[in-house]
């Protein structure tokens, strides 16, 4: 085949013609679900968080209203640059009004910056770092489900209370791991315990934790604090079992999907903290029954259920403001979100603090023995409940610049 100059130029010119996108006539709220679709956190957030967001849109009855809601999905691969890139593109090019979920802490911090830059809204449910409502807080970000302070107080406090006075941390080497190690260390030391050592593991590339576990074993600490999550925590617990490590394993952030992966035989007796459990009360059971149509095989953890809760709250506020108004100014919409009390089947009634922290109770669970479990996903029994006004870091200790001003 011979290509003449003319056809070449013509085809080059034709390829630059942009594809004109057809615009829908109804006003549309666009929600971007930014999550980890294929990495170590895919089971604790991932596709189920997307389904939870869709469920919220369905439950709110958007179909019968005068506006439409569109959900976009993006995979941040746990890399802050990719997460920031996707949210920037969503806001700039696709007209997205709000990004939810936002996965791991490093991505969360980056996505929160983009939301502030573009004056949109960002509600985090999967990320843990308490800096999101502390030194890195801004007027466009809410932190919805849990944070490292809450985990430290609940799980960390319980383990210290049970005699775990010396700790060695295995820390995922990024914002979340460091924040969790810092917050738990604070509780351990305040209770008279001490931290004898810590080791940081590369994230998300580590699958073999043997050398870190042996270091932890050699340290002689009573508790090995696992300041990581998802597949990392599962691998640590399994590998510790294989090495015959007898020290207490403190899984500081364990979700119900992790228990499911580990199996009750391995996980029994583990203490963990979540703010949601499907079998907690009438309302959580009702919610779980509804979402079972979408995900029949699994039960949601708090981060996934939290995505439902945050989307629902946003829709309520946006409708109350008027859709056009809600799309206009992200900071104003966020202020409205903070002013409205939240109420849904997942967390019950709750409020949002001026620094962006959503408040609700947290629960300390113990994983049941195989003999105690009555059916699939019957994994938890409640050990303790921390009321919502005590579960999170007091607003004055967060050093959030919004509060000083």
């Amino acid at each position: 085949m011979t290509i003449s100059r003319r056809t070449l130029i013509a085809s080059a010119a034709a390829s630059t013609v942009p594809l004109a996108a057809a615009r829908a006539q109804k006003p549309t709220l666009k929600i971007g679900v930014l999550t980890d679709l294929a990495g170590p956190y895919q089971d604790i957030v991932g596709p189920l968080a997307v389904e939870a967001a869709r469920q919220a849109v369905e439950d709110f009855g958007v179909a019968s209203k005068g506006y439409a809601v569109e959900i976009l999905v993006g995979d941040h691969q746990n890399k802050p640059d990719i997460g920031a890139g996707i949210s920037r593109q969503w806001y700039d090019r696709d007209g997205v009004d709000i990004v939810v979920e936002g996965g791991s802490s490093a991505v969360a911090l980056a996505a929160s910056e983009v939301a502030r830059d573009k004056n949109k809204v960002y509600i985090n449910s999967g990320g843990a770092t308490s800096d999101l409502t502390g030194i890195r807080c801004n007027a466009n970000t809410l932190h919805w489900v849990y944070d490292t302070f809450m985990l430290g107080r609940s799980t960390g406090g319980a383990l210290v209370g049970a005699g775990g006075t010396s700790w060695f941390f295995i820390t995922a080497d990024y914002a979340f791991g460091h924040a969790l190690t810092r917050d738990v260390s604070g509780f351990v030391e305040a209770a008279g315990g001490k931290v004898v050592g810590k080791v940081a593991t590369p994230f998300p590339a580590t699958t073999d934790f043997s050398s870190y576990l042996l270091q932890a074993q050699a340290s002689g600490a009573k508790v090995i604090g696992l300041a990581n999550a998802g597949a990392d925590t599962i691998n640590c617990i399994k590998q510790a079992k294989e090495f015959g490590i007898t020290q207490t394993l403190g899984g500081l952030l364990v979700f119900i999907s992790d228990i499911h992966s580990l199996g009750l035989a391995v996980a029994q007796g583990l203490a963990c903290t979540e703010s949601f459990y499907w079998d907690l009360n009438e309302r959580t059971r009702a919610f779980s029954a509804r979402i079972r149509k979408r995900v029949p095989e699994r039960r949601l953890g708090m981060a996934q259920a939290g995505t439902y809760s945050s989307v629902l709250h946003y829709l309520k506020a946006a409708e109350a403001m008027g859709i056009a108004e809600a799309k206009k100014d992200g900071a104003l919409t966020t202020a409205r979100l903070k002013a409205m009390p939240a109420d849904d089947d997942v967390f019950g009634a709750g409020i949002i603090r001026p620094d962006g922290r959503k408040l609700h109770p947290s629960y300390l669970f113990e994983v049941k023995k195989p003999s105690e479990s009555k059916g699939p996903w019957d994994y938890y029994k409640v050990m303790a409940t921390t009321p919502s006004d005590q579960a999170f870091r007091p607003i004055k200790d967060g050093a959030c610049p919004l509060i000083k001003a």
Binding site: T2, I3, L8, T16, D92, A106, P202
Partner: protein, 310 residues
């Protein structure tokens, strides 16, 4: 001008027009990413295409440029042009040290040394406190150019990136078509012969290496200001592989090839993002197809068809 042949001059003008017009049609942030990678690939092409040196650790200079520029802009409050200059110098200095070590060996040994040094740079960035580990340096301000013009709007930033890209592109072209460039090409064709003609080939290779690394630093520094973030992605050896892919796709040893390659690779990454992990597989297949079916790359094949030199 600049040693352009007539077809090259026409192609260059077309490119300038496209670069100038594109942000009004396409998403400017995507285009800025393309231009940063195009500059990076041009820098890489200077080595592999014109000196015949295959560097497998070029991400080190790109990423380090990004980190230094980002840190300078954020922590020291440098204006953007100074921050980018700092990134360029960082790339150049790192290239001086690494290049001085690496050019002592040839072929596969050269490639392996650059790979090893690149990995060392990666682990340095992973552990050094100023890079922020897995979080990277976030909240890098774009700032005000010369302290006067705010770069907050994407179009203003785009103008800066476009100028820097064209500057880098012309610089590479000028280097290649200078007497110095003639000697580089002589070294590529036959190093012992260049030595026998009385040239100190090591000095020439080192000089080319440093220019390439400084330009890679320039590209990395610009990218970190554009996106407001500098992360491990940019120093990872996958990035070194990606720049090889871009250069080969576009056309090794052609002046426009790396630009085309960067455009294709970035567009694939962007528009195939829905495919998730499959992007890497698709890239691999395209790479193999390209190497087997048209080894001269897109621009090389077009140039052959038109019987011109691009």
């Amino acid at each position: 001008m600049f040693g352009f042949s007539r077809p090259q001059a026409i192609a260059f003008l077309v490119m300038v027009v496209l670069v100038a017009g594109a942000p009004f049609v396409l998403y400017p942030v995507f285009l800025m990413k393309v231009l940063c990678f195009a500059l990076f690939a041009c820098a890489f092409n200077l080595l592999i295409g014109y000196v015949g040196l295959l560097s497998f650790g070029h991400a080190a200079y790109f990423g380090m440029g990004g980190y230094v520029a980002g840190y300078a802009a954020k922590a020291w409050g440098f204006t953007p042009e100074l921050a980018i200059l700092a990134g360029t110098i960082a790339g150049g200095l790192l290239g001086t040290v690494f290049g001085w070590l690496a050019i002592r060996r040839q072929g596969i040994y050269f490639a392996m040394i650059t790979l090893a040094l690149g990995q060392m740079a990666y682990f340095f960035c992973l552990q050094a406190p100023f890079t922020g580990g897995e979080d990277g340096i976030q909240q890098i301000p774009r700032g005000k150019l010369f302290g006067l013009f705010s770069l907050q709007s994407d179009l203003a930033m785009y103008a800066v990136v476009a100028v820097l890209f064209l500057f880098g592109f012309l610089l590479v072209h000028r280097v290649v078509h200078s007497p110095f460039g003639q000697i580089l090409k002589a070294i590529r064709e036959n190093e012992p012969r260049a030595t026998s003609l009385g040239y100190r080939t090591d000095s020439y290779k080192l000089a080319a290496f440093i220019i390439s690394c400084a330009l890679a630093g320039l590209a990395g520094g610009t990218k970190s200001l554009v996106f407001g973030i500098a992360t491990l992605t940019d120093v990872h050896n996958a990035m070194s592989g990606e720049v090889v892919l871009m250069t080969l796709l576009g056309g090794l040893g052609t002046i426009f090839g790396p630009v085309m390659g960067a455009l294709i690779a970035t567009a694939m990454e962007n528009y195939l993002a829905q495919a998730g992990a499959w992007v890497t597989v698709i890239q691999g297949v395209i790479f193999i197809a390209c190497v087997i079916a048209f080894r001269k790359g897109v621009i090389g094949v077009i140039a052959d068809k038109l019987k011109i030199h691009l």
